[in-house]
Protein backbone atom coordinates (compact mmCIF):
# COMPACT_ATOMS: atom_id res chain seq x y z
CA UNK A 1 0.00 0.00 0.00
CA UNK A 2 2.79 2.37 1.02
CA UNK A 3 4.66 1.59 -2.19
CA UNK A 4 1.56 2.24 -4.28
CA UNK A 5 1.28 5.75 -2.82
CA UNK A 6 4.86 6.66 -3.61
CA UNK A 7 4.76 5.55 -7.21
CA UNK A 8 3.44 8.76 -8.86
CA UNK A 9 6.09 10.79 -7.06
CA UNK A 10 8.82 8.46 -8.28
CA UNK A 11 7.85 9.09 -11.88
CA UNK A 12 7.66 12.82 -11.28
CA UNK A 13 10.91 13.04 -9.32
CA UNK A 14 13.43 13.38 -12.17
CA UNK A 15 11.36 15.73 -14.36
CA UNK A 16 10.49 17.96 -11.41
CA UNK A 17 14.08 18.07 -10.20
CA UNK A 18 15.22 19.24 -13.63
CA UNK A 19 12.43 21.80 -13.82
CA UNK A 20 13.43 23.06 -10.41
CA UNK A 21 17.06 23.47 -11.42
CA UNK A 22 16.46 24.85 -14.93
CA UNK A 23 13.20 26.82 -14.60
CA UNK A 24 12.14 27.71 -11.09
CA UNK A 25 15.54 28.32 -9.54
CA UNK A 26 16.68 30.51 -12.48
CA UNK A 27 13.43 32.45 -12.23
CA UNK A 28 14.10 33.23 -8.57
CA UNK A 29 17.70 34.02 -9.46
CA UNK A 30 16.48 36.44 -12.15
CA UNK A 31 14.40 38.25 -9.55
CA UNK A 32 17.44 38.46 -7.32
CA UNK A 33 19.80 39.56 -10.11
CA UNK A 34 17.42 42.37 -11.00
CA UNK A 35 18.10 43.84 -7.56
CA UNK A 36 21.88 43.76 -7.91
CA UNK A 37 24.49 46.05 -9.39
CA UNK A 38 27.30 44.29 -11.25
CA UNK A 39 29.25 47.37 -12.33
CA UNK A 40 31.74 47.44 -9.44
CA UNK A 41 32.55 43.74 -9.33
CA UNK A 42 30.87 41.07 -11.41
CA UNK A 43 31.56 38.34 -8.83
CA UNK A 44 30.32 40.18 -5.74
CA UNK A 45 27.53 42.47 -6.96
CA UNK A 46 26.00 45.06 -4.64
CA UNK A 47 22.38 45.03 -3.55
CA UNK A 48 20.67 48.19 -4.83
CA UNK A 49 16.97 47.47 -4.31
CA UNK A 50 14.73 48.60 -7.13
CA UNK A 51 17.34 50.96 -8.59
CA UNK A 52 17.69 48.83 -11.76
CA UNK A 53 13.99 49.23 -12.47
CA UNK A 54 14.33 52.96 -11.97
CA UNK A 55 17.32 53.02 -14.37
CA UNK A 56 15.35 50.90 -16.83
CA UNK A 57 12.28 53.10 -16.89
CA UNK A 58 14.36 56.25 -17.33
CA UNK A 59 16.56 54.76 -20.05
CA UNK A 60 15.89 56.16 -23.53
CA UNK A 61 17.31 52.95 -25.03
CA UNK A 62 14.76 50.88 -23.18
CA UNK A 63 11.89 53.08 -24.34
CA UNK A 64 13.22 53.02 -27.87
CA UNK A 65 13.29 49.21 -27.72
CA UNK A 66 9.83 49.18 -26.18
CA UNK A 67 8.43 51.45 -28.91
CA UNK A 68 10.12 49.46 -31.66
CA UNK A 69 8.66 46.25 -30.27
CA UNK A 70 5.22 47.85 -30.11
CA UNK A 71 5.44 49.10 -33.70
CA UNK A 72 6.70 45.70 -34.76
CA UNK A 73 3.81 43.92 -33.07
CA UNK A 74 1.15 46.32 -34.31
CA UNK A 75 2.46 45.91 -37.85
CA UNK A 76 3.04 42.17 -37.89
CA UNK A 77 -0.02 40.82 -36.07
CA UNK A 78 -2.76 42.11 -38.41
CA UNK A 79 -0.79 40.78 -41.39
CA UNK A 80 -0.38 37.39 -39.69
CA UNK A 81 -4.08 37.21 -38.90
CA UNK A 82 -5.40 38.17 -42.34
CA UNK A 83 -2.97 37.22 -45.13
CA UNK A 84 -2.76 33.49 -44.28
CA UNK A 85 -6.54 33.22 -44.73
CA UNK A 86 -6.13 34.05 -48.42
CA UNK A 87 -3.39 31.43 -48.69
CA UNK A 88 -5.51 28.87 -46.88
CA UNK A 89 -8.47 29.43 -49.20
CA UNK A 90 -6.20 29.07 -52.24
CA UNK A 91 -4.62 25.90 -50.88
CA UNK A 92 -7.87 24.34 -49.71
CA UNK A 93 -9.00 23.72 -53.29
CA UNK A 94 -9.21 20.19 -54.66
CA UNK A 95 -6.78 20.66 -57.49
CA UNK A 96 -4.28 18.30 -59.00
CA UNK A 97 -0.87 18.63 -57.36
CA UNK A 98 -2.14 20.79 -54.50
CA UNK A 99 -0.02 18.80 -52.01
CA UNK A 100 3.14 19.81 -53.88
CA UNK A 101 2.15 23.47 -53.58
CA UNK A 102 1.47 23.04 -49.87
CA UNK A 103 4.90 21.53 -49.27
CA UNK A 104 6.74 24.22 -51.23
CA UNK A 105 4.88 27.07 -49.59
CA UNK A 106 5.64 25.56 -46.18
CA UNK A 107 9.39 25.69 -46.78
CA UNK A 108 10.03 29.09 -45.09
CA UNK A 109 8.48 27.71 -41.88
CA UNK A 110 10.87 24.77 -41.77
CA UNK A 111 14.06 26.66 -42.61
CA UNK A 112 15.73 28.25 -39.59
CA UNK A 113 15.45 31.96 -38.89
CA UNK A 114 19.18 32.53 -39.32
CA UNK A 115 19.11 31.10 -42.86
CA UNK A 116 16.03 33.16 -43.68
CA UNK A 117 17.71 36.28 -42.30
CA UNK A 118 20.78 35.73 -44.46
CA UNK A 119 18.70 35.05 -47.58
CA UNK A 120 16.79 38.30 -47.10
CA UNK A 121 19.85 40.32 -46.18
CA UNK A 122 21.17 39.33 -49.58
CA UNK A 123 17.91 40.31 -51.31
CA UNK A 124 17.85 43.63 -49.43
CA UNK A 125 21.52 44.46 -50.12
CA UNK A 126 22.33 47.81 -51.73
CA UNK A 127 23.33 45.95 -54.91
CA UNK A 128 20.88 43.15 -54.27
CA UNK A 129 18.14 41.60 -56.33
CA UNK A 130 15.27 43.77 -55.06
CA UNK A 131 17.08 46.96 -55.95
CA UNK A 132 17.94 45.42 -59.33
CA UNK A 133 14.24 44.93 -59.99
CA UNK A 134 13.53 48.49 -58.84
CA UNK A 135 16.16 49.69 -61.34
CA UNK A 136 14.45 47.62 -63.98
CA UNK A 137 11.08 49.32 -63.54
CA UNK A 138 12.66 52.72 -63.19
CA UNK A 139 12.11 53.26 -59.47
CA UNK A 140 14.79 54.68 -57.17
CA UNK A 141 16.76 52.20 -55.07
CA UNK A 142 15.96 51.77 -51.39
CA UNK A 143 18.51 51.16 -48.65
CA UNK A 144 16.32 48.60 -46.97
CA UNK A 145 18.38 47.73 -43.91
CA UNK A 146 20.48 50.89 -43.79
CA UNK A 147 17.82 53.59 -43.68
CA UNK A 148 16.66 53.99 -40.04
CA UNK A 149 13.16 54.92 -41.20
CA UNK A 150 12.76 51.72 -43.20
CA UNK A 151 14.85 49.01 -41.55
CA UNK A 152 12.28 47.96 -38.94
CA UNK A 153 9.60 47.60 -41.61
CA UNK A 154 11.96 45.65 -43.83
CA UNK A 155 12.52 43.18 -40.97
CA UNK A 156 8.78 42.98 -40.38
CA UNK A 157 8.26 41.90 -43.98
CA UNK A 158 10.69 39.01 -43.45
CA UNK A 159 8.97 37.89 -40.27
CA UNK A 160 5.57 37.94 -41.95
CA UNK A 161 6.97 36.13 -44.97
CA UNK A 162 8.35 33.36 -42.73
CA UNK A 163 5.19 33.04 -40.66
CA UNK A 164 2.55 33.10 -43.41
CA UNK A 165 2.50 29.41 -44.20
CA UNK A 166 2.56 28.47 -40.52
CA UNK A 167 -0.65 30.32 -39.76
CA UNK A 168 -2.02 29.24 -43.13
CA UNK A 169 -1.78 25.62 -41.93
CA UNK A 170 -3.76 26.48 -38.80
CA UNK A 171 -6.49 28.04 -40.90
CA UNK A 172 -6.35 25.22 -43.42
CA UNK A 173 -6.93 22.60 -40.73
CA UNK A 174 -10.03 24.52 -39.71
CA UNK A 175 -11.20 25.10 -43.28
CA UNK A 176 -11.07 21.43 -44.11
CA UNK A 177 -13.84 20.84 -41.62
CA UNK A 178 -16.26 23.18 -43.42
CA UNK A 179 -18.87 20.97 -45.11
CA UNK A 180 -19.13 21.41 -48.89
CA UNK A 181 -22.93 21.70 -48.70
CA UNK A 182 -22.56 25.11 -47.07
CA UNK A 183 -20.66 26.45 -50.06
CA UNK A 184 -23.14 24.80 -52.41
CA UNK A 185 -26.03 26.38 -50.54
CA UNK A 186 -24.35 29.78 -50.70
CA UNK A 187 -23.86 29.43 -54.45
CA UNK A 188 -27.52 28.45 -54.91
CA UNK A 189 -28.44 31.56 -52.94
CA UNK A 190 -26.56 33.52 -55.56
CA UNK A 191 -23.36 34.29 -53.64
CA UNK A 192 -20.26 35.19 -55.63
CA UNK A 193 -16.78 33.96 -54.69
CA UNK A 194 -16.09 36.79 -52.26
CA UNK A 195 -19.54 36.67 -50.66
CA UNK A 196 -19.20 32.91 -50.30
CA UNK A 197 -16.00 33.27 -48.29
CA UNK A 198 -17.36 36.20 -46.31
CA UNK A 199 -20.49 34.33 -45.24
CA UNK A 200 -19.19 30.78 -44.94
CA UNK A 201 -15.42 30.74 -44.56
CA UNK A 202 -14.86 33.62 -42.17
CA UNK A 203 -17.42 32.62 -39.51
CA UNK A 204 -15.79 29.19 -39.43
CA UNK A 205 -12.36 30.62 -38.91
CA UNK A 206 -13.31 32.87 -36.03
CA UNK A 207 -11.84 30.75 -33.20
CA UNK A 208 -8.61 30.31 -35.15
CA UNK A 209 -8.45 34.04 -35.82
CA UNK A 210 -8.18 34.86 -32.14
CA UNK A 211 -5.65 32.10 -31.56
CA UNK A 212 -3.44 33.36 -34.39
CA UNK A 213 -3.65 36.89 -32.99
CA UNK A 214 -2.48 35.76 -29.56
CA UNK A 215 0.32 33.50 -30.81
CA UNK A 216 1.67 36.02 -33.27
CA UNK A 217 1.58 38.75 -30.62
CA UNK A 218 3.63 36.63 -28.22
CA UNK A 219 6.05 35.78 -31.05
CA UNK A 220 6.41 39.43 -32.08
CA UNK A 221 7.18 40.53 -28.54
CA UNK A 222 10.05 38.04 -28.42
CA UNK A 223 11.58 38.89 -31.80
CA UNK A 224 15.38 38.63 -31.69
CA UNK A 225 17.18 36.32 -34.11
CA UNK A 226 16.00 38.06 -37.28
CA UNK A 227 17.18 41.39 -35.83
CA UNK A 228 20.53 39.97 -34.79
CA UNK A 229 21.19 38.46 -38.21
CA UNK A 230 19.98 41.33 -40.37
CA UNK A 231 20.65 44.59 -38.53
CA UNK A 232 22.13 44.02 -35.04
CA UNK A 233 19.60 46.49 -33.70
CA UNK A 234 20.83 49.25 -36.01
CA UNK A 235 20.89 51.62 -37.78
CA UNK A 236 20.82 54.07 -34.85
CA UNK A 237 18.92 51.58 -32.71
CA UNK A 238 15.96 51.74 -35.08
CA UNK A 239 15.52 47.96 -34.97
CA UNK A 240 16.51 47.40 -31.35
CA UNK A 241 13.70 45.34 -29.83
CA UNK A 242 13.09 44.38 -26.20
CA UNK A 243 14.82 41.02 -26.40
CA UNK A 244 17.68 42.54 -28.38
CA UNK A 245 18.01 45.17 -25.67
CA UNK A 246 18.14 42.45 -22.98
CA UNK A 247 20.76 40.52 -24.93
CA UNK A 248 22.88 43.63 -25.47
CA UNK A 249 22.75 44.72 -21.83
CA UNK A 250 23.47 41.26 -20.48
CA UNK A 251 26.05 39.82 -22.82
CA UNK A 252 27.72 42.86 -24.37
CA UNK A 253 27.64 45.38 -21.50
CA UNK A 254 27.57 42.74 -18.71
CA UNK A 255 24.92 44.86 -16.99
CA UNK A 256 23.10 41.77 -15.75
CA UNK A 257 20.94 43.71 -13.29
CA UNK A 258 19.16 45.97 -15.76
CA UNK A 259 18.92 43.11 -18.28
CA UNK A 260 17.13 40.93 -15.73
CA UNK A 261 14.81 43.77 -14.80
CA UNK A 262 13.93 44.22 -18.49
CA UNK A 263 13.42 40.45 -18.81
CA UNK A 264 10.97 40.47 -15.93
CA UNK A 265 9.06 43.37 -17.46
CA UNK A 266 8.81 41.35 -20.66
CA UNK A 267 7.62 38.36 -18.64
CA UNK A 268 4.82 40.34 -17.03
CA UNK A 269 3.61 41.51 -20.45
CA UNK A 270 3.72 37.97 -21.81
CA UNK A 271 2.06 36.57 -18.70
CA UNK A 272 -0.99 38.74 -19.24
CA UNK A 273 -1.19 37.54 -22.85
CA UNK A 274 -0.72 33.91 -21.84
CA UNK A 275 -3.57 34.17 -19.37
CA UNK A 276 -5.81 35.40 -22.17
CA UNK A 277 -4.62 32.44 -24.24
CA UNK A 278 -5.38 29.95 -21.47
CA UNK A 279 -8.86 31.38 -20.89
CA UNK A 280 -9.42 31.08 -24.59
CA UNK A 281 -8.40 27.42 -24.58
CA UNK A 282 -10.59 26.57 -21.63
CA UNK A 283 -13.54 28.09 -23.42
CA UNK A 284 -12.95 26.02 -26.53
CA UNK A 285 -12.20 22.86 -24.56
CA UNK A 286 -15.66 22.99 -23.07
CA UNK A 287 -17.52 24.07 -26.17
CA UNK A 288 -17.37 21.99 -29.29
CA UNK A 289 -15.82 23.94 -32.16
CA UNK A 290 -18.48 25.44 -34.45
CA UNK A 291 -17.26 23.22 -37.27
CA UNK A 292 -18.19 20.05 -35.43
CA UNK A 293 -21.88 20.65 -35.46
CA UNK A 294 -22.21 21.35 -39.11
CA UNK A 295 -21.68 25.09 -39.02
CA UNK A 296 -24.78 26.75 -37.61
CA UNK A 297 -22.93 29.98 -38.27
CA UNK A 298 -24.93 30.55 -41.44
Amino acid sequence: MKKECLKPYLYLAAPLLLMGVFFFYPLLMALNISLLDYSRDIFTPDFIGLRNYQRLFTSPHFWQAFTNTAIFTVGVVPAMVTLPIILAVLLNARLKGIEVFRVLIYLPVVISMVVVGIAWKWLYAKDGLINYFLDGIGLPRVEWLVNPDIALYAVMVVVVWKGLAYYMMMYLAQLQSVPDELYDAAVIDGAGTLQKHWHVTLPHLRPTLLLVAVISTIGSLKVFTEIYVMTRGGPLGSTRTLVYYIYERAFENLDLGIASAAGLVLMVILLVLSLIQIRYFQRFDDEPLPSRHGGNAL
Binding site: M19, V110, V114, I118
Partner: protein
Protein backbone atom coordinates in the same frame (compact mmCIF):
# COMPACT_ATOMS: atom_id res chain seq x y z
CA UNK B 1 -10.12 29.73 -66.97
CA UNK B 2 -10.85 29.98 -63.27
CA UNK B 3 -8.65 26.98 -62.68
CA UNK B 4 -5.83 28.55 -64.66
CA UNK B 5 -6.01 31.70 -62.53
CA UNK B 6 -5.98 29.57 -59.41
CA UNK B 7 -2.83 27.78 -60.56
CA UNK B 8 -1.29 31.10 -61.50
CA UNK B 9 -1.90 32.43 -57.98
CA UNK B 10 -0.43 29.27 -56.47
CA UNK B 11 2.66 29.46 -58.67
CA UNK B 12 3.13 33.08 -57.68
CA UNK B 13 2.97 32.07 -54.01
CA UNK B 14 5.54 29.34 -54.56
CA UNK B 15 7.86 31.81 -56.28
CA UNK B 16 7.54 34.19 -53.33
CA UNK B 17 8.09 31.38 -50.79
CA UNK B 18 10.96 29.58 -52.47
CA UNK B 19 12.46 32.46 -54.47
CA UNK B 20 14.76 33.86 -51.76
CA UNK B 21 16.28 30.39 -51.26
CA UNK B 22 16.67 29.83 -55.00
CA UNK B 23 18.45 33.16 -55.31
CA UNK B 24 20.90 32.00 -52.64
CA UNK B 25 21.41 28.77 -54.57
CA UNK B 26 21.91 30.62 -57.84
CA UNK B 27 24.43 32.95 -56.20
CA UNK B 28 26.27 30.01 -54.69
CA UNK B 29 26.56 28.27 -58.06
CA UNK B 30 28.01 31.27 -59.91
CA UNK B 31 31.63 31.12 -61.05
CA UNK B 32 34.24 33.66 -59.88
CA UNK B 33 34.02 35.72 -63.10
CA UNK B 34 30.28 36.09 -62.96
CA UNK B 35 28.65 39.23 -61.62
CA UNK B 36 26.28 38.82 -58.67
CA UNK B 37 25.61 42.48 -57.89
CA UNK B 38 23.00 44.81 -59.28
CA UNK B 39 25.76 47.03 -60.63
CA UNK B 40 26.00 45.52 -64.10
CA UNK B 41 23.77 43.05 -65.86
CA UNK B 42 22.58 40.40 -63.51
CA UNK B 43 21.40 37.01 -64.66
CA UNK B 44 18.96 35.03 -62.56
CA UNK B 45 20.58 31.71 -63.43
CA UNK B 46 24.31 30.98 -63.20
CA UNK B 47 25.92 31.12 -66.66
CA UNK B 48 28.63 28.57 -65.93
CA UNK B 49 27.47 26.71 -62.79
CA UNK B 50 30.27 25.54 -60.54
CA UNK B 51 30.54 23.80 -57.18
CA UNK B 52 33.80 25.60 -56.33
CA UNK B 53 32.15 27.92 -53.80
CA UNK B 54 30.86 24.93 -51.86
CA UNK B 55 34.27 23.26 -51.66
CA UNK B 56 35.92 26.56 -50.66
CA UNK B 57 33.45 27.07 -47.82
CA UNK B 58 33.77 23.46 -46.73
CA UNK B 59 37.56 23.84 -46.56
CA UNK B 60 37.67 27.24 -44.88
CA UNK B 61 35.11 26.93 -42.07
CA UNK B 62 34.21 23.88 -39.99
CA UNK B 63 30.76 23.57 -41.51
CA UNK B 64 30.95 19.78 -41.06
CA UNK B 65 31.46 20.30 -37.31
CA UNK B 66 28.55 22.73 -37.18
CA UNK B 67 26.34 20.07 -38.73
CA UNK B 68 27.52 17.37 -36.35
CA UNK B 69 26.99 19.70 -33.38
CA UNK B 70 23.52 20.70 -34.54
CA UNK B 71 22.47 17.11 -35.17
CA UNK B 72 23.87 15.76 -31.89
CA UNK B 73 22.39 18.57 -29.82
CA UNK B 74 18.99 18.13 -31.49
CA UNK B 75 19.18 14.35 -30.93
CA UNK B 76 20.04 14.74 -27.23
CA UNK B 77 17.30 17.35 -26.78
CA UNK B 78 14.63 15.24 -28.49
CA UNK B 79 15.64 12.04 -26.69
CA UNK B 80 15.65 13.59 -23.20
CA UNK B 81 12.52 15.63 -23.86
CA UNK B 82 10.55 12.55 -24.88
CA UNK B 83 11.70 10.56 -21.86
CA UNK B 84 11.01 13.29 -19.31
CA UNK B 85 7.70 14.22 -20.92
CA UNK B 86 6.48 10.62 -20.79
CA UNK B 87 7.73 10.09 -17.23
CA UNK B 88 5.99 13.19 -15.91
CA UNK B 89 2.86 12.86 -18.01
CA UNK B 90 2.20 9.26 -16.97
CA UNK B 91 1.23 9.85 -13.32
CA UNK B 92 -0.46 13.15 -14.19
CA UNK B 93 -2.71 11.42 -16.70
CA UNK B 94 -3.24 7.93 -15.29
CA UNK B 95 -2.87 8.01 -11.50
CA UNK B 96 -4.70 9.63 -8.62
CA UNK B 97 -2.55 11.10 -5.92
CA UNK B 98 -2.29 13.98 -3.53
CA UNK B 99 -1.03 17.19 -5.13
CA UNK B 100 -1.62 16.08 -8.70
CA UNK B 101 -3.38 19.29 -9.66
CA UNK B 102 -0.69 21.42 -7.99
CA UNK B 103 2.10 19.61 -9.85
CA UNK B 104 0.27 20.00 -13.12
CA UNK B 105 -0.28 23.72 -12.63
CA UNK B 106 3.36 24.20 -11.62
CA UNK B 107 4.45 22.43 -14.80
CA UNK B 108 2.10 24.51 -16.92
CA UNK B 109 3.44 27.76 -15.46
CA UNK B 110 6.88 26.97 -16.89
CA UNK B 111 5.30 27.39 -20.32
CA UNK B 112 4.67 31.02 -19.53
CA UNK B 113 8.21 31.83 -18.44
CA UNK B 114 9.93 33.30 -21.47
CA UNK B 115 13.39 31.90 -22.03
CA UNK B 116 14.74 35.46 -22.22
CA UNK B 117 14.12 35.87 -18.48
CA UNK B 118 15.93 32.78 -17.32
CA UNK B 119 18.77 32.82 -19.83
CA UNK B 120 20.99 35.05 -17.70
CA UNK B 121 20.78 32.90 -14.53
CA UNK B 122 20.93 29.80 -16.70
CA UNK B 123 24.20 31.01 -18.16
CA UNK B 124 25.63 31.49 -14.67
CA UNK B 125 24.42 27.99 -13.69
CA UNK B 126 25.97 26.43 -16.78
CA UNK B 127 29.27 28.15 -16.02
CA UNK B 128 29.16 26.66 -12.53
CA UNK B 129 28.41 23.16 -13.85
CA UNK B 130 31.09 23.50 -16.54
CA UNK B 131 28.53 22.98 -19.29
CA UNK B 132 29.69 25.78 -21.59
CA UNK B 133 32.43 25.37 -24.11
CA UNK B 134 34.83 27.25 -21.89
CA UNK B 135 35.35 23.94 -20.12
CA UNK B 136 36.03 21.92 -23.26
CA UNK B 137 38.20 24.50 -25.02
CA UNK B 138 39.16 23.46 -28.52
CA UNK B 139 38.15 19.86 -27.82
CA UNK B 140 36.17 17.98 -30.38
CA UNK B 141 33.72 16.43 -29.65
CA UNK B 142 32.67 19.15 -27.18
CA UNK B 143 30.60 16.88 -24.97
CA UNK B 144 30.09 19.43 -22.18
CA UNK B 145 28.94 22.08 -24.59
CA UNK B 146 26.54 19.63 -26.26
CA UNK B 147 24.84 19.00 -22.96
CA UNK B 148 24.91 22.66 -22.03
CA UNK B 149 23.14 23.43 -25.30
CA UNK B 150 20.55 20.68 -24.89
CA UNK B 151 19.67 20.79 -21.21
CA UNK B 152 17.51 23.94 -21.04
CA UNK B 153 15.27 22.36 -23.69
CA UNK B 154 15.49 18.78 -22.46
CA UNK B 155 12.39 19.26 -20.38
CA UNK B 156 9.44 21.44 -21.21
CA UNK B 157 6.06 22.11 -19.71
CA UNK B 158 4.72 21.96 -23.21
CA UNK B 159 6.05 18.43 -23.85
CA UNK B 160 4.58 17.14 -20.60
CA UNK B 161 1.25 18.81 -21.32
CA UNK B 162 1.18 17.46 -24.87
CA UNK B 163 1.87 13.84 -23.82
CA UNK B 164 -0.54 14.08 -20.90
CA UNK B 165 -3.35 15.12 -23.24
CA UNK B 166 -2.71 12.02 -25.36
CA UNK B 167 -2.53 9.66 -22.36
CA UNK B 168 -5.66 11.03 -20.71
CA UNK B 169 -7.72 9.98 -23.71
CA UNK B 170 -6.87 6.27 -23.50
CA UNK B 171 -9.46 3.89 -21.97
CA UNK B 172 -9.08 2.87 -18.34
CA UNK B 173 -9.49 -0.84 -19.16
CA UNK B 174 -6.01 -0.92 -20.69
CA UNK B 175 -4.34 -0.80 -17.29
CA UNK B 176 -6.84 -3.16 -15.71
CA UNK B 177 -6.19 -5.94 -18.19
CA UNK B 178 -2.44 -5.30 -18.08
CA UNK B 179 -2.48 -5.68 -14.30
CA UNK B 180 -4.32 -9.01 -14.69
CA UNK B 181 -1.52 -10.06 -17.04
CA UNK B 182 0.94 -9.32 -14.25
CA UNK B 183 2.40 -6.06 -15.55
CA UNK B 184 3.83 -3.55 -13.10
CA UNK B 185 3.23 0.14 -13.63
CA UNK B 186 6.44 0.68 -15.57
CA UNK B 187 5.61 -2.21 -17.91
CA UNK B 188 2.13 -0.80 -18.41
CA UNK B 189 3.73 2.46 -19.46
CA UNK B 190 6.36 1.06 -21.80
CA UNK B 191 4.46 -1.91 -23.26
CA UNK B 192 0.85 -0.76 -23.33
CA UNK B 193 0.50 3.01 -23.22
CA UNK B 194 3.56 4.31 -25.09
CA UNK B 195 2.95 2.21 -28.23
CA UNK B 196 -0.55 3.68 -28.41
CA UNK B 197 0.70 7.27 -28.52
CA UNK B 198 3.51 6.92 -31.07
CA UNK B 199 1.98 9.56 -33.38
CA UNK B 200 1.88 12.05 -30.50
CA UNK B 201 5.48 11.26 -29.61
CA UNK B 202 6.56 11.59 -33.23
CA UNK B 203 4.87 14.98 -33.42
CA UNK B 204 6.55 16.11 -30.21
CA UNK B 205 9.88 14.78 -31.47
CA UNK B 206 9.68 16.78 -34.69
CA UNK B 207 8.51 19.88 -32.84
CA UNK B 208 11.43 19.65 -30.41
CA UNK B 209 13.85 18.89 -33.23
CA UNK B 210 12.80 21.96 -35.22
CA UNK B 211 13.07 24.21 -32.19
CA UNK B 212 16.53 22.89 -31.36
CA UNK B 213 17.71 23.04 -34.97
CA UNK B 214 16.72 26.68 -35.37
CA UNK B 215 17.75 27.87 -31.90
CA UNK B 216 20.17 30.78 -32.06
CA UNK B 217 19.94 32.80 -28.85
CA UNK B 218 21.12 30.19 -26.36
CA UNK B 219 23.99 28.71 -28.40
CA UNK B 220 25.21 32.21 -29.23
CA UNK B 221 25.43 32.87 -25.49
CA UNK B 222 27.29 29.79 -24.33
CA UNK B 223 29.54 29.04 -27.31
CA UNK B 224 32.77 30.79 -28.14
CA UNK B 225 34.93 28.21 -29.96
CA UNK B 226 34.35 28.00 -33.69
CA UNK B 227 34.59 24.18 -33.65
CA UNK B 228 31.71 23.99 -31.20
CA UNK B 229 29.24 26.15 -33.12
CA UNK B 230 25.86 24.84 -34.17
CA UNK B 231 24.68 25.70 -37.68
CA UNK B 232 22.82 28.95 -36.83
CA UNK B 233 25.77 30.33 -34.83
CA UNK B 234 28.21 29.06 -37.45
CA UNK B 235 26.29 30.78 -40.25
CA UNK B 236 26.38 34.11 -38.46
CA UNK B 237 30.12 33.63 -37.93
CA UNK B 238 30.58 32.68 -41.58
CA UNK B 239 28.81 35.86 -42.64
CA UNK B 240 31.37 37.88 -40.74
CA UNK B 241 34.32 35.76 -41.87
CA UNK B 242 33.57 36.18 -45.58
CA UNK B 243 32.35 39.78 -45.14
CA UNK B 244 31.05 40.75 -48.57
CA UNK B 245 31.84 37.55 -50.43
CA UNK B 246 28.24 36.62 -51.03
CA UNK B 247 29.06 33.64 -53.24
CA UNK B 248 30.72 31.93 -50.30
CA UNK B 249 28.14 33.09 -47.75
CA UNK B 250 25.39 31.77 -50.02
CA UNK B 251 27.21 28.48 -50.52
CA UNK B 252 27.61 27.95 -46.77
CA UNK B 253 23.98 28.85 -46.13
CA UNK B 254 22.75 26.47 -48.84
CA UNK B 255 24.89 23.64 -47.41
CA UNK B 256 23.39 24.23 -43.98
CA UNK B 257 19.86 23.84 -45.36
CA UNK B 258 20.39 20.40 -46.87
CA UNK B 259 19.83 18.26 -43.74
CA UNK B 260 16.61 19.99 -42.70
CA UNK B 261 15.18 19.93 -46.24
CA UNK B 262 15.89 16.21 -46.55
CA UNK B 263 14.32 15.62 -43.17
CA UNK B 264 11.29 17.72 -44.08
CA UNK B 265 10.64 15.90 -47.34
CA UNK B 266 10.86 12.53 -45.58
CA UNK B 267 8.60 13.45 -42.68
CA UNK B 268 6.30 16.12 -44.13
CA UNK B 269 3.24 15.05 -42.22
CA UNK B 270 4.97 15.21 -38.86
CA UNK B 271 6.57 18.52 -39.70
CA UNK B 272 3.18 20.08 -40.18
CA UNK B 273 1.67 18.53 -37.06
CA UNK B 274 4.89 19.18 -35.13
CA UNK B 275 4.94 22.85 -35.92
CA UNK B 276 1.21 23.23 -35.30
CA UNK B 277 1.58 21.46 -31.96
CA UNK B 278 3.42 24.56 -30.85
CA UNK B 279 0.33 26.65 -31.33
CA UNK B 280 -0.76 25.81 -27.81
CA UNK B 281 2.65 26.94 -26.63
CA UNK B 282 3.10 30.24 -28.39
Amino acid sequence: MKKALHYLALILLVVISVGPFLWLLSTALKSPEENIFATGTLSLLPQKPTLDNFTTVWNQVSIGSYMINSIVVAAITVFLNLIFSVLAAYPLARMRFRGRQAFFVAILTTMMIPFQVIMIPLYLIMLKFGLTDASSLADFPPINAWFGLAIPFAISGFGIFFVRQALVGLPKELEESAVLDGCNSFQILTRVLVPLIYPTLATLAVFTFMASWGEFLWPSIILSEEQHFTLPVGLVYLQGAFSANWKLIAAGTVLSMLPIIAFFLLLQRYFVSGSLAGSVKG
